[in-house]
């Protein structure tokens, strides 16, 4: 593989990692912890409590699962596009 191709592949990987980790931080540290009071001000309740509580006990875990499978899918496509997938 050409050198600039390697650089481009790695840059694309770093980009998607940063996007996924931003969501990872947003749902857990954000919605479930720091932003909980903000979410509580929204007129949304779930099971008699606020959205932040749901993110703390369920929403963040479900988002984590979604993130890993999305990253896996995205990387498999990226690997093929750059011709670095496993035969």
């Amino acid at each position: 593989m050409e050198n600039d191709q390697t650089t481009a592949y790695w840059a694309a990987n770093i980009r998607i990692i940063l996007i996924c980790l931003s969501i990872w931080a947003l749902v857990s540290f954000g919605f479930a912890i720091w932003l909980r009071p903000l979410l509580a001000a929204l007129p949304i309740t779930i099971g008699g409590t606020d959205l932040g509580f749901w993110f703390a006990q369920q929403g963040s875990i479900l988002s984590f699962i979604g993130l890993i499978f999305y990253y896996t899918w995205y990387m498999n496509r990226l690997d093929r596009r750059f011709g670095v997938d496993e035969e």
Binding site: S28, I61, I65
Partner: protein
Amino acid sequence: MSQFMLNLIVVGASFALYVGIAIWARAGNTSDYYAASRGVHPIVNGAATAADWMSAASFISMAGLIAFVGYGNSTFLMGWTGGYVLLALLLAPYLRKFGRFTVPEFIGDRFYSNTARIVAVICLLVISITYVIGQMTGAGVAFSRFLEVDNTTGLLIASTVVFIYSVLGGMKGITYTQLAQYCVLITAYTIPAVFISLQLTNNPVPALGLFSTHAESGLPLLAKLDQVLMELGFQDYTGSHGSTMNMFLFTLSLMIGTAGLPHVIIRFFTVPKVSDARKSAGWALVFIALLYLTAPAVGSMARLNIISTIFPSGTAEQPIAYDERPDWMTNWEQTGLLAFEDKNNDGLIQYYNDRSEDFAPIAEARGWEGNEMVTFNRDILVLANPEIAQLPPWVLALIAAGGLAAALSTAAGLLLAISSAISHDLLKSVFMPKISDRQELMYARISMAFAIALATYLGLNPPGFAAQVVALAFGLAAATLFPALMMGIFSKSMNMQGAVAGMLAGLIATLLYIFTYLGWFFIPETNMLPNTAEHWLAGISPLSFGSVGAVINFVVAFAVMKMTQAPPTEIQELVESIRVPRGATGAIDH
């Protein structure tokens, strides 16, 4: 048939299964022994990782841990799952591509230095040995509780079973027994949970039941729980109490620590391909979530159920009489996990928070002279569920087998991490490089036997700090191994000096901070400052320090790197090669 006989049969059958698997999955060479020949299907590895990860504490105590605190302890739920995102995105695929057997091996080769290798081995041993003590004591307790043997006998039986399948089968044996153990533990956990959820909310899925309507009152379940808790002077379940900063740092430390635990990382060396390592982390989290989404539901429903049992006509009315308590309470009183004391001699059971100053006048007006459920062990919320829901005795037997499966699977994974660090990283890589594969396999088995003997000894004579060790393990994994591994992959210019200095700085800073507040080597009364919020540095609890230790590691490593020589070209090429999946090999013969 008595409950005891039934427990014996179910637990005995599960053990026979594990030993049978071990005989079937005997290891023939080091690649079998360390990495199951890299032939494990990613979904199978996901289930094995889930069993490896979920300990006796997750199985027996987590529901109670969350139910008795509520929202504040969501940190455990997020911390112990969020780490898998870090593993899948930052570590697992690259370490799999590197294609070796142990965590110190990556650090030693990537940082071209036996010093780095040995520092990594030391960190691994401190992390995994402290962690395994808790598992061995947990297995002993589980045995004595379910099989009516004393702790020592229980521990020796557990060690013998682990010995058979791990010495014989290594990673291969451990992987397939962990798969079986996952099936046993998740079935045991789910059945009573489904019944209690049906009973309280008419919803068969506990995780959905938690956010649905309480059948009896028509209120949302969580609103009902908050209401009865506050009526008895307890803190509400969904409210925020405590420091947001510590909640954030503690969650982050658990996440980074999870991603840096060697016994979890090595599981990802067993899958055939790099893309499988990513996928497998996703499956591991799915299997973990099946329990972690159920745990808060089980805990809060069981707590609500117990309060409704004690106050059958509502918290404003009189509680039940001690003589009329249900049979399950009588049964668990015998174990000491539940105890009552009739402080005001009225024959009734007053259960409330007698430490709440706001509630004191109400209690006094009602003639209550203190909480009369004097012992309410949090493990009850899981252990007594089958009886509370009036399920047949075999369900309780299944819980016994599940608790033991959780303890044994985690212990086996840790023991493999410990023994492979000794036989592969210390003996083969440093002290006896000339030994053949057959000889190394023999040394690997001897190290395993040695590790089991050590863990058994420590389980029988637990150092006084058993309760704090898990926090220590997570803090150190976060502050030492995780940053070193990450820099090894993501920074081409990180060199030996930087990595070693970073790991040592993270290790020392974290140990010093923890020892300052919890005592030198956890010896009581040797702490230099009291372990209270006003004495913590910037309000950071010693349990949350791992993430700060990780930052120290990164900063020191980059500072030292700037002042020292760049790594050799071949190392930079090695980093280039682990960044792309193509060319991943099966096990490398050394």
